[in-house]
Symmetry: C2
Subunit: 350 residues, 2 copies
């Protein structure tokens, strides 16, 4: 067994007993850290940073160095994959991502190329290799991608959306073309994630930020089905690598997500971990779920709410502490210290 396999994070994902609950935070390498903002300024744009393996490695390691988190997560973006499919990704300050060439027709869908993960996203794989060799021994590295449905919303809408009208219209009015898009994205994503494992990732995560905006029928047919397809493909290419599925606002679908064969489920803060645990039983580990807004309060509240999350999960194996969504740029870094210390102290087992 390697030091990585024996790490708190990997053991918790296997639902083995641990001395204390492991912790990392979604978007832990990010704008709330002054050292991140300094690197970002040197890099130029967000894409310049994500596209530069040395700098991506540098920012990935910053929160590990500062807080000693129990896992690192590759610094990248869920839209890199559609970007290399030729849609022209950009970021407008204050407005988020956009695509210069949105997918607007079945013909657009059928013309999408299948990227070669090691060629078209070589800078991502190089970043994974650099991070893997720079990380402290025994700190696992998480690779990731967006879910096909979530990625598709940006590809179709061309930007962030409030009502996802165009994307939903595709699912409703041309389900065959929508299904082809989901399958294409699922296959590309499975290749992309397998390449990250080959480059050194120890665990994988799929972010389904917008699964929660769908009706149950559309969720099952598109968001869930395409995630299940990825998990199944990864089972043959890298069967021992745990996959964590995170769906924001998808609390009602936990049981269905378990059935994909994933190792862990990310849970947002609108669900009690105690309830989630009853529902998923001993089938998967759970990751979550402090509301990131708690980090904007004060040390006393942060400590109390952190203990509440730990107590809600309770004793027993299978908990990875995290936020219920990404950390926001306005969080004071010292508030994160309070969170980390509280998890370490309160979850310690005799």
């Amino acid at each position: 067994m390697t030091a990585i396999d024996q790490s708190l994070f990997m053991r918790a994902l296997r639902r083995e007993p641990v001395e204390r609950t492991p912790i990392w935070l979604m978007r832990q390498a990010g704008r709330y850290l002054p050292e991140y903002r300094a690197t970002r300024e040197r890099a130029g744009s967000f894409l310049d940073l994500a596209g530069n393996p040395e700098l991506a490695c540098e920012v990935t390691l910053q929160p590990i160095e500062r807080y000693g988190f129990d896992a690192a997560i590759l610094f990248s973006d869920i839209l890199i994959l559609p970007h290399v499919m030729g849609r022209g990704l950009g970021f407008k300050p204050g407005e988020g991502p956009y695509f210069e060439r949105p997918v607007r027709s079945a013909a657009d869908i059928d013309a999408l190329p299948m990227p070669d993960a090691n060629e078209d996203t070589d800078y991502v794989m190089e970043a994974v290799r650099l991070i893997r060799s720079a990380l402290p021994q025994g700190t696992p590295l998480i690779g990731f991608a967006g879910s096909p449905w979530t990625v598709a919303t940006y590809m179709i809408e061309g930007r962030s959306s409030k009502d996802f009208a165009r994307a939903k219209k595709l699912l409703l009015a041309d389900p065959e073309a929508a299904g082809r898009l989901m399958n294409h994205l699922a296959d590309a994503t499975a290749d992309y994630l397998a390449a990250q494992v080959e480059a050194g990732a120890d665990a994988l995560m799929i972010f389904d930020s917008w699964g929660g905006v769908l009706s149950p029928r559309l969720y099952h047919a598109f968001s869930l089905a395409s995630q299940a397809r990825i998990v199944e493909r990864l089972k043959s290419s890298c069967p021992d690598v745990p996959v964590i599925l995170f769906g924001k606002g998808c609390g009602q679908h936990l049981e269905a997500l378990v059935d994909t064969g994933c190792a862990g489920l990310g849970v947002d803060w609108t669900l009690d971990l105690s309830e989630a645990r009853v529902r998923v039983g001993d089938k998967v580990a759970l990751q979550g779920n402090l509301d990131p807004a708690v980090l904007l309060t004060n040390p006393e509240v942060i400590a109390a709410e952190t203990r509440r999350v730990l107590d809600s999960f309770g004793d027993g194996p299978g908990h990875v502490f995290n936020l219920g969504h990404g950390i926001t740029p306005d969080v004071p870094p010292e508030h994160v210290s309070v969170l980390v210390e509280t998890v370490r102290e309160h979850s310690r087992r005799e």
Copy 2:
């Protein structure tokens, strides 16, 4: 029994058998209608329109005249009540509502006046009276207000919010002051709704647009508790008037919402009505729940998805057809005709 009491809408809310499923749409008097845009242009700002009883009556009746909906809903806004508490409501084009004087401290909360519904919101009550006398005989009128939590988010943030950081901070860091704010808003809202009934409203609805952003603990302590307080107060002031609670993203809380003693629950599209019906049993009627984005597709899809919603509820009493959220401004009016006709045809009982 009056014609109103015998209307499809009121009978469905009492879970009595009906010849066909009644239908109305949240925000049915709105920008998707050219006649609304014409009246709005004559009125000036949104607040000018909501503050003018004659024009508010005019736009309330427009969708009744065009589509023959089975219920009218007062044209107003959930922020009128905090507006008359002196916070200075305004609307920025494209950005939504804002308050000039947000609530930022416990002192601000304790200084909030208790409005006199018949004096401070006399224009609302006058609009209710005008609408009541202008409506076709037998068409019920729904009065409404925002939930205390949802209204409080705007009062505290001063505007629409993405993460509700300030509002959540109040709940977490000063729960006593937050509780006082909820109680104050609940009492003012109960008075406001009772005055609408006195002026002629036949049913009442409370919109909790942002209940779904809270953790279960905060939801129960603040959003749910304050809605329950309103329902309880209305039980003594107008015991025969049905109250419908609509919480967006609150599907996991249906059972708790039933326990408030409400007559009906609005359900968004992320929940199957078949599942919702099993969970609430015969205790309340259900209102919903077509995804408003469906109205942006095409007639075939609209008809198919509408039938799906009706079939999901199935036979048996207690369904009021509606969208799962407000209709959006970009919906072609003829698409609404397809929806209405489909409901009328497909739900007809022999």
